[in-house]
Symmetry: C2
Subunit: 851 residues, 2 copies
């Protein structure tokens, strides 16, 4: 009944926006109405805390808009904060400007518009269904967060509101990215009639809109929370991060199932059963297939990167406070602001003239990335040089100034960290630099294992000549090896952070890792531009194929059809390359973010609740981190189970793709029976296929989502909070290895097929090609569904553990001091939820060929 009512309530896009904004207004309003009272309570509580924590150096008493009141912050810092907000808004305005540019571009012929609008229609149908599923869940989680948050009432409201904001932003990035992509693809196709440069520039700018939205919203959210909550910002930031990751998980999983189910379904019913070409408009699943590209590569990827962007800033700010005090919190925000400026400048330099070709266009994109990198590296080195000064007053205010420097002496840093200037500490800036190098290294490795120009893919293509099996076997070898290489690079980056912070406590090392994450994602604007450019160019090519009127174009200008088609094909190829290059960063960011979140987890564990984190002493940190020893059997069990989760999750997703594809095939068959549709006289009901496709994808989402939330909770409740820590560690290690294996093996199989289709080893139709197609099909659900979904999974589980740590510590059956009966009941519910999810995922995949 309630669900029905909710469905009616959210029938139109405007109603949905109103719903979210309403939620926001309600909670924000309640917060401000109670502000005075709350503030008083908080101050009292803060004073109590101060009283009880005598051994803690710095006790942060909560004040609203602390940064503008707290004497710790100087005027320079206050100005900086305002500038950061301004930069975030500037980023958003820049995005708005680009939206205008794209919207105003030529929209092509009505026939082209028709194709594009079908895709857009499908995309909207997906979002509607997605929203209906997630909307109620958001209320539930908001309430749970509100009631489980410990500490002052201000934090309860803060976390609940931030959660909604985080979810809203993450959803918005996916929503706008997808919407713009479905607008941009039409304009790119139309521009291709005029010149290569124009089309290329439009496509890239369409991507840049999503990129800048991610940058702008991520920075704005983090900064605003910091402005309101000051050094207590982590209270709300956790909610912000959780909202972002949870939405990203839904977008990734739903999008991943959608895109591959549509792909497989369309191929089975169209190419194989009816023997009609790939993009035949009579096939109701064709549009779903095109929608799938947007859903997976635009919405899923954008949400995912936004979430990494959020989570790294959350981790950096929590650890920043625990290490370098408010400077530690402000520095990552300032670095991010520099990144946004660098992205604005560098993406705008990516231009192409009428005489450009694929090669020069790719060079222009890469030049943009390099300009951005140089600008941001210069920016944060200069910033670090002027801002990272630690004199007597600041050191006195830092909770752990003694542990921050080798031997406790701020002036004893090696020359490379302070250039001989007493009080200067460039280490945070240098760890950012590590992140930038990490981005470059990850791109190179991904490209080595998945590009046609390197030996792994060439070897795969060669193995196709001896059959299906040898191709798959070699793919295993390539995928296994590539995940090891990626992991070695990530381990090296963490190790460099260890080296930079030699002689300090582990928390500083974790801060270094978090700052490396900030560095890694500095150029998020450019990264997403490059990524989204892929599906836009891909779709534009499809629109050209279906929507260009050859006769009319040739009549107007002979040769123009051929030229425009060639331009679109070239753009598609460039898009494939740029899209693939960014994959490495998305994957790498998951581990870096998870490792730094993990340190936050330990910090929270050490003080028994995230509300007391500001009072943590290093002794507490060390004492509790010691209990996370793999020598403890419970931690080891946690580690084992944590390692198993990514396997279970992937198994569910792989099966889900198969099942969803089955329903699509069924619907298409029904529509084909309509003689008018088959004759091409009537437009098939694309929306219905898309809707079925979407709703099954959403249904398949429940099992994995339950797993993500219930698994860490179960381990925590049964074995205690330290086992939950072991669980997280195991999940990070195995998740990373499995995700990269699946992504790269899939990518390599895909490109081996492309290589053969380009004419090597017999080309299309040869036996080798058949083997290559098998490899590509095997790789599809691995690289586009299971692999990428592990990224947000890792972070959702981290976030869930962080947020529920207080509850788990209190009522777990192993060491809890609270109600163990409640713990047992909750554990049983969680296990039942997981088992239910697994049983759902094990329902036998219906044979695809049966009626």
């Amino acid at each position: 009944m309630l669900i029905q009512w909710f469905k009616r309530l959210t029938a139109s896009p405007k109603a949905r926006l109103a719903y979210l904004v309403g939620l926001l207004v309600f909670f924000t309003g309640a917060l401000f109405l109670r502000a005075k009272e709350v503030a008083e309570t908080a101050v009292e509580e803060g004073q109590e805390m101060a009283g009880s924590a005598v051994d803690s150096v710095a006790t942060h008493i909560f004040q609203w808009f602390g940064p503008f009141r707290d004497p710790e912050f100087d005027t320079f810092e206050r100005i900086c904060l305002i500038i950061v907000v301004a930069i975030a808004i500037a980023g958003l305005l820049y995005a708005l400007m680009l939206v205008k540019q794209v919207r105003e571009a030529d929209q092509g012929t009505p026939k082209m518009q028709e194709v594009a609008s079908a895709v857009r229609e499908g995309a909207m149908a997906y979002l509607t269904a997605q929203f209906r599923k997630i909307g109620p869940l958001i209320i539930v989680i908001t309430l749970v967060l509100f009631f489980t948050t410990q500490g002052a009432a201000a934090f309860k409201y803060g976390r609940a509101v931030s959660f909604i904001v985080g979810a809203l932003f993450s959803w918005l990035v996916g929503y706008v990215g997808m919407r713009l992509a479905t607008i941009g693809n039409l304009r790119v196709a139309a521009a291709a009639k005029h010149s290569y440069g124009l089309a290329m520039q439009l496509g890239y700018r369409t991507g840049t809109i999503t990129g800048m939205l991610t940058d702008g919203l991520g920075l704005l959210g983090g900064t605003m929370i910091f402005l309101v909550y000051g050094t207590h910002a982590y209270e709300a930031l956790l909610g912000f991060g959780f909202g972002g990751t949870l939405l990203a998980l839904f977008m990734r999983v739903g999008g991943g199932i959608y895109t591959k189910a549509a792909d497989v379904g369309a191929d089975l019913v169209g190419k194989i059963e009816k023997d009609i070409p790939e993009d035949d408009p009579r096939n109701a699943a064709t549009i779903a297939d095109n929608v799938g590209d947007n859903v997976g590569d635009c919405a899923g990827m954008a949400s995912d990167i936004f979430e990494s962007y959020e989570v790294t800033i959350v981790a950096a700010m929590i650890l920043g406070l625990a290490t370098f005090g408010h400077k530690g919190v402000l520095f990552p925000l300032l670095v991010r602001a520099i990144g946004v400026v660098a992205s604005i400048i560098s993406t705008y330099t990516v231009k192409a003239g009428p005489n450009d070709t694929s090669d020069t266009a790719l060079k222009s994109v890469h030049r943009g990335f390099w300009i951005g990198s140089v600008l941001s590296v210069l920016g944060f080195l200069v910033l670090g040089f002027f801002y990272l000064r630690f004199d007597g007053t600041i050191l006195a205010n830092m909770a752990h100034s003694g542990e921050a420097f080798p031997g406790g002496n701020p002036n004893a840093l090696p020359w490379i960290f302070n250039f001989g200037i007493p009080g200067l500490d460039m280490r945070p800036a240098i760890t950012c630099l590590i992140g930038v190098f990490l981005a470059v290294a990850l791109n190179k490795v991904t490209s080595y294992y998945t590009h046609t120009s390197h030996s792994p893919v060439q070897g795969l293509a060669k193995n196709c000549t001896t059959g299906h099996a040898t191709n798959i076997i070699e793919g295993f070898a390539v995928g296994y090896e590539s995940t090891v290489s990626t992991l070695i690079i990530l381990a090296t980056a963490i190790f460099l952070s260890v080296l930079v912070y030699t002689g300090t406590s582990p928390m500083f090392i974790a801060y270094g890792v978090a700052m490396a994450g900030i560095g890694l994602l500095t150029l998020t604007g450019n990264t997403i531009s490059m990524d989204v450019f892929g599906p836009v160019a891909d779709n534009a090519n499809g629109i050209g194929e279906m929507g260009f009127d050859k006769d009319e174009m040739e009549a107007n200008e002979p040769g123009s059809y051929q030229r425009a088609r060639q331009i679109l094909a070239d753009l598609d190829a460039v898009g494939n390359t740029t899209k693939a290059e960014t994959k490495g960063i998305a994957i790498g960011s998951a581990v870096i973010a998870a490792v730094s979140l993990f340190a936050s987890f330990i910090a929270v564990l050490a003080v028994g609740g995230e509300d007391k984190i500001a009072e943590m002493t290093l002794e507490q940190y060390n004492e509790h981190s010691a209990l996370l020893s793999v020598a403890d059997s419970k931690v080891l069990i946690g580690l084992l189970i944590g390692g198993a989760v990514p396997f279970l999750f992937s198994s569910s997703l792989i099966r889900a793709v198969g099942r969803a594809a089955y329903y699509i095939v069924k619907e298409c068959r029904i529509q084909f029976r309509d003689a008018e549709i088959w004759a091409g006289k009537k437009k098939p009901d694309y929306g219905r296929v898309v809707d079925i496709c979407t709703s099954t994808a959403q249904k398949e989402l429940i099992g994995p989502a339950l797993l993500a939330i219930a698994a860490p909770l179960t381990v925590g409740l049964l074995l205690g909070p330290y086992a939950m820590g072991g669980f997280l560690a195991g999940m990070i290690v195995v998740g990373q290895l499995l995700a990269v294996f699946m992504a790269n093996a899939g990518g390599a199989w895909d490109n081996a097929k492309k290589l053969i289709e380009d004419g090597v080893y017999g080309g299309k139709g040869s036996e080798a090609h058949k083997a290559a197609v098998t490899g590509d099909t095997v790789g599809d659900p691995l690289k586009d569904t299971a692999g990428p979904a592990i990224n947000p999974l890792i972070k959702v589980m981290n976030m869930v553990s962080l947020l529920l740590l207080g509850v788990v510590t209190s009522i777990n059956l192993s060491t809890g001091t609270g109600s163990k009966a409640l713990g047992a009941v909750l554990a049983v519910i969680c296990i039942a939820a997981i088992v239910w999810g697994v049983v759902q995922s094990k329902r036998e995949t219906p044979g695809l060929t049966e009626e």
Copy 2:
């Protein structure tokens, strides 16, 4: 030059045995010649230790044949020890009796003998080459062990000798198992002419010989070392365990590459290129293919289980000493002895009469297993009841009696652990019971995921109808899920041990896990009988196919040919079932053994060297285990790298199979060019193919072996001993998950093919069958090469870490106090070795179809 000389020296089997025995005599002789002097030094050193470790309750002063001199041991225990030795010898005599039975059985016609002797010839060629490769390495490692062992000279000799003995025993088990299998297969084929029961019984008894050899040698080795070294036995046991695991790694890796390379090579050159049937005697690779079955399933599996059998006893004895003192050490030996008795009785009950069929035969085998289980469970419960009594004197002698019981009170145990009898402590016996249940559960799970009678394999077969890719994709889902199920069972077993030892220190929990391992492998005799029965029956069927003379048999007795062939086919099917059932135990034992070894690692880490383990205090243990926290960045890096190793290892092995197959194809082509061979007039040179096959398999072995030894050392040298601990934990988690995934996915694909070949979905020749063959081929190197080799890999790395811990602690670059320069040099050498190995494994696989 030296290698040439070594090759000449070990040209004949007798010379090789003489070589090993010579080594043994040399080191044992040296040991006894120096015995008196050494003993005196040891006593002095012991006294020094006692002086320096005042806070340690029990300091064990070393005495030769301690159990017969030390007043701690009572007469009952001394008698028990002698009985254990007698039982071990009885097990070996039982094996000898069975050898006689098998040897005296009918050998069939000369034609059958010819086929069998070709296989035997090949098997011997493999062992010769294997031995040549490993022989010199054994000397080198013996010397390294001798010089790196810390403590008294008695321990240096002890460890070196035990290493050789362990290696020799492990090799012997593989050698005898394979030799007997190649003798038994002929007799089984001949017996099939007479009756089903006779053939079945002969086949099972052939397997029992290897089983009892494993039991007998494992028990004898452990007990003898204990008799000589008493409570200091772990000094030598480490060497014994390392010898066993290292040999097992070589046997598994070499055997795995061999069997699949021969399989793929024979198929490519015979079935595909020449279009001749599978077992055509003109194909020089056919015999290699048959040899491969023995090499992989007999020698590899037997060595591997022997090694698990050894390693669990090593871990149990080390932890037993550290927890319950000498009772803790003696109890696992006594339990093992009970297991051997139970195996002798229960394997002898497996009989079949002339009227038996497949069904009744399988029931007989299962009944044997159940009889054994009941006997041993009863046995160790009764033993526990009488032996596990802890009165005042014994408690006073126990180092950590205070920590052994909840609240420090031996009488405060819950009723189920002492039946209300003060001083009784049944917990060690109960953890053994957990191991028995674990064995049953692992068998069931393996069988569920890989048998044709359950839904996973049936689902795979159905997916074959939609093509190659859907079969592979579903196989991923099945394999992923199965590894999660297996891991949950293992985690539960560990958790039960945690529950049993609630309220005690982690070391007791680890002892519980080790005892579960002892329980798990109690019926090793029966397990190996069932396993080896598989290849024996398989080979017998092949001999029947190639060697039975239809005309002659039908002339003697009409219908006899058909009947005999049917009997062999039935036996083959039974063998496949029993073989598959034992796989679960082999895999499970790896993790249980690794987890308990890992606890030994921590114990050694705690005291800074394994020579001081007897003086360890629980405070030391807790203090050092706290440093193994995943919250420490270095430990986390270790964890990440440890997780990566099984992926790299698997990648190398998968590639190695492809390369080795290529050389086989090349040699076969050359032999086919000989017109006489092609005409069937001349016997092809099977030995040469086998030799090439063997030597390439051995060559491919170097990279993975280097990785196994150098990887933990590198991590330890660069990041310190705690990171090495993290490395081990990561490797155990990922190794287990990956090994089970590959083994079960491969098994499921294999059986899906069998299901289709039995007529489902179109049967042989259908499109579904082709897809099923692709799945089977993909699964082959996963399930028979990479997957099983991870078992010994996990334990070799654990052993290497344990043995080199002293060196690493001293000279590592992170926390070492010794020569860091030496550490750096060693680290560089290790990294170079790994890189060299990886580069070797990345040499491009030569295309199999090129000339």
